[in-house]
């Protein structure tokens, strides 16, 4: 029997599509203007006074002068370092803990699991956290942005659920053949877990790339600023963007600002299709097992 409820009701369907299209425009519109402004030449920006809708004579001058070297380039490098090292470390720490907890009858397993779950209910607060990071000597070190967040209870639970769903016969057979736990984890479990590693790795990577507040708290040295702090300085505090290689007609400030914004979005844009593929699954597993 075909579903009665899925019979389209034409006027209502069109109305819904219009509303949702408007929602999409409200989300996408600003991006179009951001990209357009970054590509617009200074005379057009000068006439408009701010963001432009469409670049009349597109030019990459703004990008060229920003990437010629200077604070933005350094900050992009810092963020890339934090993101890559942080994500690899986070995946290592999260997956090993989740694997150990996925084995039933692990000694102290119950206590550790409860300890992990409990952290979803509370956090120590900003001041004690700051003092802890200071006590570990991590102030003004990029490790302060990485180490405290290399493991989150939510991700441990999601991964543990995934490992738990792998057929137990695989590990049992390997144990009988004399393989140790490290070997089983590395050669059997991890290769089978690529989907969940990708999903959680992407989540971690986005968070590391977007690190803002902990950098504001822990990093004073401007040379170690990640891209989000530089964005705040130039786009929200409206500091003048210095240009080393100005050329004949220097790019306008709005074009420079928007070019920095676009550069900060490129990694997100690159991973977004993969996020799309994996994230729903990750969120749902977490929510169901929560």
């Amino acid at each position: 029997m075909t579903s009665l409820t899925r019979r389209p009701h034409a006027p209502a369907e069109v109305g819904k599509m219009i509303i949702l299209t408007l929602c999409c425009l409200i989300v996408l519109g600003p991006f179009v203007m951001v990209v357009s402004t970054s590509l617009a030449d200074s005379s057009q920006v000068g006439r408009g006074g701010g963001l432009v809708l469409w670049p009349e004579r597109p030019t990459f001058d703004a990008y060229r002068s920003i990437l010629a070297g200077g604070q933005v380039t350094t900050a992009l490098g810092v963020s890339a370092f934090v993101t890559i090292v942080g994500t690899l470390l986070a995946l290592a720490v999260t997956s090993t803990l989740a694997y150990a907890l996925s084995r039933t009858h692990l000694l102290f397993g119950r206590v550790i699991l409860l300890g992990v779950l409990a952290t979803m209910l509370f956090s120590a607060g900003m001041i004690p956290m700051y003092l802890t990071v200071k006590q570990f000597g991590l102030l003004n070190s990029l490790w302060a942005l990485i180490i405290p967040v290399t493991v989150s209870a939510f991700n441990v639970i999601v991964m543990r659920a995934f490992f738990g769903s792998l057929p137990a016969e695989l590990t049992e057979a390997a144990l009988i053949d004399g393989a140790g736990e490290f070997r089983i984890f590395w050669t059997i479990v991890l290769p089978l877990s690529k989907p969940i590693l990708a999903a959680i790795g992407l989540f971690y990577a986005v968070n590391f790339w977007n690190t803002f507040f902990s950098a504001m708290l822990y990093i004073d040295d401007q040379k170690k600023w990640p891209i989000q702090l530089v964005l705040r300085q130039y786009l929200i505090n409206n500091s003048q963007v210095g240009v080393t290689d100005a050329g004949a007609v220097p790019p306008s400030q709005p074009a420079l600002q928007m070019a920095i914004l676009v550069l900060s979005l490129i990694p997100i844009a690159c991973v977004y299709p993969f996020l799309q593929k994996h994230f729903t699954k990750g969120v749902l597993t977490g929510a169901v097992k929560g």
């Binding site: 929602c23 692990l106 969120v283």
Partner: protein, 314 residues
């Protein structure tokens, strides 16, 4: 096999020998949780001390509840932060919380699957942007020289001052929050909607129930457990209202309109050096958060809902 007759110590040793490699794998994660979740909890003792950074936590003098009394005797700055927090959280519960539910219902009722998928990928996107990017985009679109001003001047209207205007600050926060997170928030509701038994709709249709009646008698009851779950989790954060988002925009509107508990802790503690009183505010806030979640969960159980614990072991 013989575990029941073994003395406890021998049993422990045997299990240690069996599990040592697994425990070694767990060690880095456990160490991080211990160092950056549990150890900082102990740091909360400075809420009861006159903390001096150069003396250290152990050396500083105990002041009992002194740090708390400063707050509850009615420090105007603290009361202002508390008031702003409560107003913003109230606005969030009224506007931000139901928005994804409405959006999910709208998307779910679409017949065209392809259109729905396109809408989803567009509306999920802003969730993955940092607050710095979102705030920057809003400031440039709504601020001076932005498209809003250009549009108003083309229409001959006045120049609307939204960015930096204290009376627009709280609506602006809500707007940004919805823009960033509303699409993403639909995921769980869409999953719940997909789980509703389609036969119920067919039966209702046969009985002559209108689409609105179906919405109120089948759809909304069907996703009620998820709504309550999200509400409970939200209640735990009642006193945490968009910290990064607010810190970024505070300079433009001033403390009177924008100070909330989290920014109060930051501004007085880390910027202002009032470690003890700020830690006291943070501690009270954290404890209230845990109590609220547990209470909301208890309440949900009383009303026969699953809450957050049931199902955790499945």
């Amino acid at each position: 096999m013989s575990s029941r007759s073994e003395p406890p110590r021998a049993l422990l040793a045997r299990r240690l020998r069996r599990d040592w490699s697994l425990l070694l794998l767990a060690l880095p994660g456990v160490a991080i949780f211990a160092s950056f979740y549990y150890l900082p909890l102990l740091g909360n003792v400075i809420a009861f001390k006159d903390y001096q950074p150069f003396i250290g936590i152990l050396g500083s003098d105990w002041v009992g509840l002194g740090n708390f009394s400063i707050l509850f005797d009615g420090d105007p700055a603290f009361l202002n932060a508390l008031r702003n927090t409560l107003i913003i959280t109230f606005l969030q519960l009224i506007f931000t919380f139901p928005a994804p539910i409405a959006l999910a219902l709208l998307m779910n009722s679409l017949v065209s699957e392809r259109f729905k998928r396109v809408v989803q990928s567009v509306l999920y996107l802003p969730h993955f942007l940092s607050w710095v990017v979102v705030v920057a985009i809003f400031q440039h679109v709504l601020g001076f020289g932005g498209p809003l001003e250009q549009l108003m001047s083309a229409l001959g209207g006045p120049h609307p001052e939204i960015i930096g205007n204290p009376s627009f600050f709280k609506p602006l926060l809500i707007l940004q929050d919805i823009w960033k997170n509303c699409g993403w928030g639909t995921i769980l509701f869409l999953a719940a909607l997909a789980g509703i038994d389609q036969n119920l709709y067919e039966a209702a249709e046969v009985d002559g129930a209108s689409r609105w009646r179906q919405l109120f008698h089948i759809t909304l009851p069907g996703i009620r457990p998820v709504i309550i779950l999200i509400l409970i989790l939200r209640i735990g954060d009642l006193l945490s209202v968009g910290f990064e988002q607010i810190v970024l925009q505070q300079a433009a509107v001033g403390a009177h309109a924008s100070e909330v508990l989290d920014t109060y802790v930051y501004n007085n503690g880390i910027v202002g050096g009032e470690w003890g009183t700020s830690a006291a505010v943070g501690l009270v806030k954290g404890v209230i958060g845990v109590v609220l979640v547990l209470a909301a969960n208890k309440l949900a159980h009383l009303f026969g809902e699953a809450g957050i614990y049931q199902g955790a072991d499945k």
